[in-house]
């Protein structure tokens, strides 16, 4: 069966790697990202290197209207979407009290509302195919509650619960729902620079977006519900469960404090 993928946040990092992986697997693709983030160039690159149909939409998904527009666009074009990848998201480390609410509002709007709206709008389209997939991108940090990631972590926890719940609900509609929980990824220049400043134990757990993309698509198609990519990440995850709570919390706090510092240093 030839798949048609809809990928949000496709212009950078994991989203871009997912787009390339889908093209590599022969899927047609609708790329969605913010304006002037390089989607026309990405379409051209895919056109030149793969024999698949590629279309793109440059919209800001933090706006409800844009989400509606995307849903209507797919329906009007009659794109037979069979692989929905909800990848768009914003993160970052912030001191809750010292930050403008706009930052958190954007996280909630994009990570929770847009994802839910798009999924809701696509259900009927997805259900028309003999087999469809939804891949939602959550994060490994939902298992490591720590400071400075309060809202971000909570939005990712939402995605996790939402996906697992929906997965059971949609079984009889032939829609497979998978949630991806990656650890650190070198998803863009800023993340690569932050990651390169980490200690070795953290550095070796960081994954390339290309490998996460390939692994995720493969496992989603095999029907896996929860994906945690990376051997080292899995090892740390098991190990973390054995640690006493106080020590575990201290580790997370130390780590997050370091992250917020390098984030602040780079944004200066």
């Amino acid at each position: 069966m030839k798949h048609f993928a809809l990928i949000t946040g496709a212009s950078e990092g994991l989203g871009k790697s997912l787009a390339l992986e889908c093209a590599n697997k022969g899927m047609d693709i609708l790329l969605v990202s913010l304006p002037s983030t390089g989607l026309p160039e990405l379409k051209l690159l895919l056109d030149q290197n793969f024999e698949v149909f590629v279309d793109y939409l440059e919209i800001d998904l933090t706006d409800d209207e844009s989400c509606h527009y995307l849903i209507e666009y797919v329906k009007s074009k009659e794109y037979p979407i069979s692989f929905l990848i909800n990848n768009a998201g914003v993160g970052g480390n912030y001191q809750f009290g010292n930050q403008d609410f706009a930052v958190f509002n954007r996280m909630i709007q994009l990570n929770i509302k847009a994802l839910t709206m798009i999924t809701h709008g696509m259900i009927n389209v997805l259900a028309k195919n003999s087999q469809s997939f939804i891949l939602n991108v959550s994060s490994m940090i939902i298992h490591f509650e720590g400071p400075y990631k309060q809202v971000y972590g909570a939005t990712k926890s939402f995605i996790f619960y939402f996906s697992k719940s929906l997965s059971i609900e949609l079984k009889d509609k032939n829609i497979q729902v998978t949630v991806l929980c990656p650890g650190g990824i070198n998803s863009n220049i800023k993340m690569a620079r932050i990651n390169n400043q980490c200690n070795l134990l953290q550095q070796i757990s960081v994954l390339y977006p290309e490998e996460v993309a390939a692994y995720s698509i493969e496992k989603t198609m095999k029907g896996k519900n929860v994906i945690i990519p990376g051997k080292i990440v899995n090892l740390y995850f098991i190990f973390s469960k054995l640690l006493p709570n106080q020590f575990r919390n201290w580790l997370i706090k130390t780590n997050n404090t370091k992250l917020i510092k390098s984030q602040q240093a780079l944004s200066q």
Partner: protein, 329 residues
């Protein structure tokens, strides 16, 4: 005509300075290390001591030169402090642009790297190929950011352009920036080379003398704001090893080694680097690249600049001969 070259004590910069001086041109070079001056002792080369991180040094060395080749860079796979890459490659470029803006410079040629474009898919990469692969090393990121600084200045009317050599090899000073030279030298010395068992990945190998000529042609004919890839032939890793073996006068062993342990070895190397300051021989990013194609087309430089590519075998042969003579002396 006077030309200012940064990185004159480096592999590419020294070769470029020498080539210009031999042709009768006057060259200014700015170097930090007095020991490096022996390779630049030429009546047409004026040596200035200083640093591209100091505006004053740049002003002195630039003098009344009309052209700048900004070749200097921290070009290696690792530095104990990753910030060094950004300081030297990005801040250094900004400093040069700042000083050059105040003078009547005619052209500023930034030497970048095909590494900023990254690996290729099915079609060869060219100057317009967008970066699709993740950035994983500070060298490439810093060169990418340096290009951006230059292009930003071009928008304000600065006469800058970019040349991007691929994997560079051939006669010249010892340098961490030519892995191929070290590979050949190691093979000649130890009679053993270690090649990965998967060696299908294609790379682009640029001969240094072609790249030097390409720089000079970019100065003559290069258009402001443009980028020109200065590469060579595209060959697989296997072909590279085989050619070295075939053209070496002595017999040697090509040991095959699987790629997967290299990842763990690179972690160990990184540990040694971070804790004991020993420069890693391989890095995780290097291991990732072993299986990725990096095919480039120099078509634009050939068409617009008259860039010429020495046939691969001839270039490797010249390099082997140079390295043999160097060992003997």
């Amino acid at each position: 005509m006077k030309t200012f070259i940064t990185g004159g004590s480096g592999y590419l910069g020294q070769r470029l300075a020498w080539r210009l001086a031999e042709s009768g041109e006057y060259v200014h070079v700015l170097i930090r290390n007095k020991n490096a001056a022996v390779h630049l002792e030429h009546p047409n080369i004026k040596i200035f001591y200083g640093d591209i991180l100091k505006i004053k040094s740049i002003k002195e060395a630039l003098g009344d030169c009309q052209y700048i080749f900004h070749v200097a860079a921290l070009a290696r796979v690792w530095s104990k402090n990753p910030e060094d890459f950004y300081t030297v490659n990005v801040e250094g470029t900004k400093n040069l642009i700042q000083v050059a803006k105040e003078t009547k410079i005619q052209k500023f040629i930034l030497t970048s790297s095909t590494g900023t474009i990254g690996p290729s898919l099915k079609k060869p990469n060219d100057e317009n190929t967008p970066r699709w692969s993740s950035f994983n090393n500070d060298y490439e990121i810093s060169k990418y950011l340096a290009e951006k600084e230059l292009l930003k200045a071009v928008l304000d009317g600065f006469p800058g352009l970019i040349v991007s050599p691929s994997r560079i090899f051939g006669p010249g000073l010892d340098s961490p920036s030519s892995g191929i030279n070290r590979l050949i030298a190691g093979y000649l010395k130890n009679k053993v080379a270690i090649m990965p068992t998967t060696h299908h990945a294609l790379g682009n190998y640029g001969f240094i003398d072609d790249i030097v000529e390409g720089h000079i042609k970019a100065r003559e004919k290069g258009e402001i704001g443009q980028k020109y890839i200065l590469g060579g032939e595209n060959k697989s890793l296997g072909e590279l090893f085989q050619t070295i073996k075939n053209l070496s006068p002595q017999r040697g062993l090509m040991l095959k080694f699987p790629v997967w342990p290299l990842k763990y070895w690179s972690w160990l190397e990184l540990y040694m680097g971070n804790n004991f300051g020993r420069s890693p021989k391989i890095t995780p990013d290097f291991v990732k690249r072993i299986n990725e194609d990096a095919v480039f087309s120099s078509g634009k430089a050939i068409k617009d600049l008259g860039y010429k590519i020495t046939p691969f075998e001839e270039a490797i042969q010249t390099t082997i001969q140079f390295l043999i003579n160097k060992r003997a002396s």
